[in-house]
Symmetry: C2
Subunit: 338 residues, 2 copies
Amino acid sequence: MDTPSERFTLAHGSGGELSNQLLEGSVFKLLHNEFLQKRHDGAVFELSGRLAFTTDSYVVSPLFFPGGNIGDLAVNGTVNDLAMCGAIPKYLSLSFILEEGFSKEEFTTILSTIRKAADAAGVLVVTGDTKVVERGKGDKLFINTSGIGKVHPKAAIDADNIKIGDKIIISGPVASHGMAIMSVRQGLEFESQIESDTVCVHKQVLELLDEFGTDIHFLRDPTRGGVATVLNELARQTQLGMAIAEQQIPVDAQVQAACEMLGLDPLYVANEGIFIALVDAGVSENVLKTLHKATSKQLAAIIGTVVAEHPGQVVMQTEIGGRRVVPMPSGEQLPRIC
Amino acid sequence: MDTPSERFTLAHGSGGELSNQLLEGSVFKLLHNEFLQKRHDGAVFELSGRLAFTTDSYVVSPLFFPGGNIGDLAVNGTVNDLAMCGAIPKYLSLSFILEEGFSKEEFTTILSTIRKAADAAGVLVVTGDTKVVERGKGDKLFINTSGIGKVHPKAAIDADNIKIGDKIIISGPVASHGMAIMSVRQGLEFESQIESDTVCVHKQVLELLDEFGTDIHFLRDPTRGGVATVLNELARQTQLGMAIAEQQIPVDAQVQAACEMLGLDPLYVANEGIFIALVDAGVSENVLKTLHKATSKQLAAIIGTVVAEHPGQVVMQTEIGGRRVVPMPSGEQLPRIC
């Protein structure tokens, strides 16, 4: 059994002695760098040019899942959002909302994961905040990470740049993150465990920008709502059609089986380690080659084309030869997936 | 009675149709600007030089209080943290964690307040995120705001610059925010209502930096834990002594009375619209004059001096002539004050 001192109390969020102990004893120790060292309300650094700025709050439940925990999710998610802006991720902020009674041991494990994920992504956590809410007014731990990056000089990522004929490329197999979370929630067992794909993708993105520059028209990571939601948003925003082919969409066999078991469409399931790129048709095969060079699995695929037909809609050629509209999801398939 | 459609459901956080309706129908409409217009995962802008970056999550309860609500608190708090770095606030991110069942009407009111506070502070909300958690797993609404600012060319705000003889200046009366929240929680009634001091202070700060530059050694806003906590942190960090005089500390008579009624020491109560400046003794009287010019009330005051004695401690000369240590608070005086 934990002793009360191993769990968070409201006083840890008070700004007083216990807040200081929490910060000095774990947060600053595990995340140590010259910026946090200043113990100030914010971080100051030199940075110039076109910058990208993004934010995400993470409320994933459960906090720990096969392949990761809320800590690497919070780092990778925000790093990836910066990458989707065509930016080299630089600095992160980190803000915790802890529920009274949450385990300090779990918190420390998550902090260590944050440190590892930040190191792997080459970013620094430079400023932060910690709040504690009463038992029953939160759910163990919510994390917000915001991030700043420097936009790649060749990047021109903008939905306005999407044009008819652009190829729709996906960088890896879909639905792993969502199904990893669901398998824990539902207590499903498979031959081998389904793992979340939570990983940072900015190195792949920066390589594409180096090589293909403005021929990379748009980037988006299909997190909540999955590939179907991202493509629907783009179809609406551009008032162009998105035509995709079911058989081109990479799905791990076990993930596919789990989706079928739960009656979920993998196109709507969340991802945390892949991205969608809309690229000039002329470079699409070479983009694919570059993506394939990066991993041994070579699962990136061209899944479709931007078309003039069915403006505002996503239409899929099915494996059995038919065509169907892939609608924007209306309800909630998988709450608190990220 | 509200109909169910006037309250948030989990689907509003799903990334699907209802998420889109929420964003298009209220968030993007009320906060409209060229950056949000892009509907991307992050915002891209040009900014160069020494930048400041800060984050804060706001979990104040209740959401609405005399003088403000969580919306202006979230804007002003982060704007002020940037100001404390000596920076001109520029861009904010905004991330909501909504509890299922929270009122859309209240949310809209808070969004309007955010817009007004951002306009007043001269900052733009350029990127954001919305999550919804199940009933009983949150508390109506938590907000994270992160911010980016451009550091004033003359600013050199660093605890390392604090030196013996520096004067400790406070920009206005203490404890108003905390007591405004407490008066609502406790249902206290006074002759006139105690109002939170939630306001942005960066204009005052930038004026000081224009005029006094590097003679402004350090800035900090005494939010959670109040003036006593900030001074204790500085005493520890610098290993210098902070000597303050009780009779110099400005407290509104009604706030003082409310503190006495609840047995609270105003030095430990949260503030949201004042700051502490540690300045070179040679300019302290002129700093005070500049602060007094800014408001008709002229309540800024020199409350003490940085001394070689009692290193690491805050010692107060009391009104009745004695001296006492003002300790770092250990426990939780006022949870969820910001």
